[in-house]
Amino acid sequence: MSAILKEIIGLQDPDVCYQCRRCTSGCPIAYLVKDFRPHRIVAMVNLGFIEEVLRADFIWDCTRCYKCTEYCPQRVAPSDIVLSLQALCVERGIRFPDEYRNMILRISRTGFSFEEMEVADREMEIYDRKSLGLPPLTPPSKIDIVGKIVLSLGGIKE
């Protein structure tokens, strides 16, 4: 089963996990969220409980800090597994957070994930790029081509 996950993103092999829990011991989210245990996620994947993990909200609680991956003695990369699970979730239409969908749409129009904002400073004075003397932000010259590719790879129909 982990072959699917590997195909999506993983460079490492989760099978060699020996459940030492080092990943969990340093995970800042495991410290705060009782249900979030990277070593358990790895075990579930290895035992084939993919459907169950995919439907668990906690896979979206990972803060993507890669500490687990950095300190795993077996080089398992739990963070990549969590990210692959998120990708699988989206691919299967189980969950695709709106934030991402909107951002991808914005790239297809402007080249960037975020809208240019007006920002207030400490004195509540409002600034934008222009009033700060920063050069204007322009979309890539071939945004029509780039935009199409972005939508297709983002799996979004306009």
Partner: protein, 295 residues
């Protein structure tokens, strides 16, 4: 010797974190470095590495292909996320010929090719190894600053995962502290959550959890005894500076940790004004530190 530098600004800096762009521009000008703008630039794809991995690799490769096309040997993304996005995508594509061909198929539509030649240099690495520590010291060092203690936030994306070659030891990096000491300050090289996450990646899906992570991190930085925390990452900055207050209210305890970008601090040391380095955008209590710095 004239110095040139191709900077990749990324989305978050150019649409919101203006203080980082301002201070970076002013600092490089003061140091006599010409900024080369990466033309036709776009998002680096990093936010989608989880939900749409192929979109991520395409967008990241696109930035590096642009840099190659415009003749740059190396580029400096000012954003930590962009930095990790590019070096990770580079690593990942280099191990996957099929993906490389597919991505080049897309890039060709725009007349671009990805060859993987451009070096991607972190901001800290740039000051430490390219501008270089010695020149920085010659330019800025002042021993009277030694009384001020400063600690760091590298940000996860600067250092992990360490299996991809980076600018410093992923388990005990020192270069950030070195470029702080090059200005004359005392760097605090350890606190318990020094290499931990600020919680920013959670803000899209679970903000409350993100704010809690941030608070724990800030408290640990505070206990280090530092009078200022500096970062080069604008996601960390937004969390630790601008969202510090929200974190405090969620956890019900005030911390009051002053936070700045490294480029802002460097700018001040170069004699730039507070406004020139965008310090009016910092929301954390930096006044005390600024007063100490002037004394």
């Amino acid at each position: 010797m004239s110095r040139k530098l191709a900077v990749y600004w990324g989305c978050f800096t150019s649409t919101k974190q203006y203080a980082l762009e301002l201070s970076t521009r002013r600092v490089l000008e003061s140091l006599g470095v010409d900024i080369m703008e990466l033309k036709d630039s776009s998002c680096c794809g990093y936010p989608y590495r989880g939900v749409r991995p192929k979109l991520w690799t395409f967008l990241a490769a696109r930035i590096m292909a642009l840099a190659e096309d415009q003749g740059y040997d190396y580029i400096v993304p000012v954003c930590n996320g962009c930095y990790n996005s590019l070096i990770k995508a580079k690593h990942y594509i280099s191990e996957n010929k099929k993906l490389l061909d597919e991505i080049n198929g897309y890039l060709r539509e725009e007349g671009l090719v990805y060859r993987g030649k451009t070096r991607v240099v972190h901001v800290i690495e740039y000051f430490h190894d390219y501008y270089d520590l010695k020149s920085l010291k010659e330019e800025v060092f002042n021993s009277e600053r030694r009384k001020l203690k400063i600690t760091t936030q590298y940000g996860c994306d600067a250092i992990r995962p360490g299996e991809i070659p980076r600018f410093d030891n992923p388990r005990n990096p020192q270069k950030f502290e070195n470029i702080i000491e090059a200005l004359g300050f005392t760097a605090i090289r350890d606190y318990s959550r020094r290499l931990d996450c600020c919680g920013a990646p959670l803000m899209a899906v679970n903000p409350e959890l993100g704010l809690k992570v941030n608070w724990l991190k800030l408290r640990s930085a505070k206990m280090s005894g530092a009078e200022l925390l500096v970062t080069t990452c604008q996601y960390c900055f937004e969390m630790m500076d601008s969202r510090q207050e929200s974190s405090e209210s969620i956890m019900g305890e005030e911390l009051g940790v002053p936070v700045m970008y490294y480029q802002q601090l460097l700018g001040l040391c170069l004699g730039l004004s507070e406004k020139e380095v965008g310090l009016n955008f910092n929301m954390s209590p930096i006044e005390f530190f600024l007063e100490e710095l002037k004394r």
